[in-house]
Symmetry: C2
Subunit: 390 residues, 2 copies
């Protein structure tokens, strides 16, 4: 069912939040998040923690513990480094965007010897290149892989990369930033033999931002025990041991646990396979809609993400102007480009509870506002809006 006029300005009660996270929070999840506080050291929280952890295991595709830290996603990216690698350890960092750059910079800050495997931004990551890098660096203790680069809208073939890495080494840790893929794009931690998988609450899990997630394989826990990097707040073992008693070492963001409990119920009801298919279909319709507008996609098609699409800003348009007009006149919120892409792209997020009508509405708004910015003739040359009907 499409939006009706009772839903407010432009047919919507709320802005059409087309960010690649934090995502729009479903009404039932938002209601859950507003429940009264409880004693985070009491039995109610212990039961909540157990229910949420069970649901997260399902999304991660693992039997391992899934640990939650009060932090952003970047917090657990740092946690993974300081738990599993000692100063001087060699790691290979696959770098293909702003977030993978950040992770490599973190590893460097903590004294690791970082060998970058640079991949042209917007292009697919070649699993063979990962295998070759590992073959040349047999002392590498880990490979850092960003499953879904939110800055460029590129998803890598994580299963193939993990298989390629494991083919070179039984011991290397395959460490994955799955922050913007978990719950939207298939992640199979156990089946793909991943060692550290990182997530966050505000992407496909549809909860407010503020909880970072981390799961470790047995290989990961062994590395954690050996690691001599100083750590305290981020200590995975401290979190796991307290979780085992039904609580957390640090005051938990209880509203996010409430929210996750509700959103995990939605996820279970729809089913992960159906969710992944919905994301893929919506993403496909975004890409064809963008092209129908005569705009250029940043990522090559075979690497395109199901959660976010980076679109090249047409000549003569300032990204800030476009974002501002979309927000002001259309109640549509898209994201700007990050880092070196800030003048080059804008990004349309399509993850979480996204439906086809959300991206249709967004693309129509983009068409109108680009026209308002003086691009009418080019847009008309691009033809009418066309959408696959997922």
């Amino acid at each position: 069912m499409g939006p009706t006029s009772t839903q407010g300005r432009f047919g919507r009660a709320r802005p059409n939040l087309r960010l690649p996270g934090p995502v729009e929070i479903p009404a039932e999840v938002s209601r859950a998040a507003g429940r009264p506080m409880i004693n985070h050291l009491g039995p109610e929280f212990a039961a909540l923690l157990a229910r949420v952890t069970a649901g997260l295991r399902h999304v991660f595709g693992t039997d391992a513990d899934v640990l939650g830290f009060p932090s952003s996603g970047s917090g657990v990216m740092e946690a993974a480094i300081v738990n599993c690698f000692s100063p001087g350890d060699r790691v290979i960092a696959v770098v293909n965007g702003v977030f993978s750059e950040r992770w490599a910079a973190m590893a460097d800050a903590f004294g690791l010897r970082v060998t970058r495997l640079d991949v042209e931004w917007g292009r697919a990551v070649d699993p063979d290149a990962v295998a070759r890098a590992l073959g040349q660096l047999p002392d590498a203790a880990g490979v850092l892989v960003t499953h879904n680069e939110t800055s460029t809208g590129v998803t890598c073939d994580l299963e193939a990369i993990a298989r390629a890495a494991r083919g070179e080494s039984d011991d290397v840790l395959v460490m994955v930033d799955a922050i913007s893929s978990l719950g939207s794009i298939d992640v199979q931690m156990d089946a793909w033999d991943l060692d550290v998988v990182l997530g966050a609450s505000q992407k496909g899990l549809m909860a407010p931002p503020g909880l970072g997630l981390a799961a470790l394989s047995e290989r990961g826990w062994e590395a954690q025990r050996r690691c001599i990097q100083p750590r305290f707040y981020w200590d995975f073992a401290r979190m796991r041991d307290r979780n085992a008693t039904g609580s957390t070492p640090w005051t938990p963001p209880t509203p996010i646990y409430y929210a996750l409990e509700a959103s995990l119920e939605l996820i279970m009801a729809e089913g992960l396979e159906a969710i992944y298919a919905r994301h893929a279909a919506v993403a496909g319709s975004v890409r064809s809609g963008v092209e129908a507008l005569g705009l250029d996609l940043y990522a090559e098609p075979e690497a395109a993400s199901s959660t976010v699409t980076a679109v090249r800003v047409p000549d003569g348009v300032t990204p800030a102007d476009l974002l501002d007009r979309l927000h002001r006149y259309e109640d549509v919120v898209v994201a700007g480009g990050l880092g070196p892409l800030s003048d080059e792209v804008f990004r349309i997020g399509h993850l979480g509870a996204v439906q086809p009508r959300d991206v249709r509405h967004c693309l129509a708004a983009i068409k109108r506002q680009l026209a308002g910015l003086g691009l009418r003739s080019r847009l008309e040359a691009g033809g009418a809006l066309a959408f696959a009907n997922p």
Copy 2:
């Protein structure tokens, strides 16, 4: 006005949450926290961040930047250590409870030479003892002080301790965990010449848990620039520099900023002096009420906190039983003892939006449930409930 029968079981719509944090969130703050997500990299968030920061400056008593990190309070305790002290630096840690113990342990984990100034738990901290310790250790780079020890219900005379420390050294950093005092007990960062002041969202600031706060003096920033401790997520300079552009380096917990904006309005409307007086009066009535029940206070009166009261568990009662009965039969949630005090005390929180009726209701419930646990005669010997009327 007291509770009425329309408010639900035992006269209340919600449980009477008498934890020393997270506190019950006022209705208008909870509503604010539920507002839709926005682009955390856009102008709306920049304006929100500016408003919240201005309000926090007022509560901290400072003109300095107040930085917010997605984390619990313990997160910013670690942040303070890794930003301002290098491995091998000497610090004096005043230790008088579970949270000050934790801070000393963190400093130790990051390679500092930690000299403990142990103070008997429950007793006042002597400012002269801090001065003597500093006099004996002229190489000390910092003093770690917990303003309000939530585990024991002890508040130190922070102004006097800071003056004593400064009397010994112009350079020493006076670093203060004010997590459970800010917004409830007077903290004057600039007037008292404090160098690092730490807070969190879920105590006197009456917001959900998940945002740690830190403010630095000029002396603190100088130490931060000199410090060679590895850091990335916690880097104060990275946060300050991004804040200056209206955003944050890590995805912020936007709902907590919404909540803080609303709670800071409540705080401004009541006025900090009135809030501190209300907390002191309510705390006084808790202490006299506890004594009227024939129970023993853990902290000595001159050191007693305005935000939390630790009560010795009477002989023959298991704290878990008492907490469970209070929760189950009275809808009252008090906190257990922490660490070595877990069998010895329970704790009544009285901070945030607390009103005299909340603690009267709590004490009456404790009386009933202790009677139910077979302590009737001793309680009767203790006389009727008596309350100061704040």
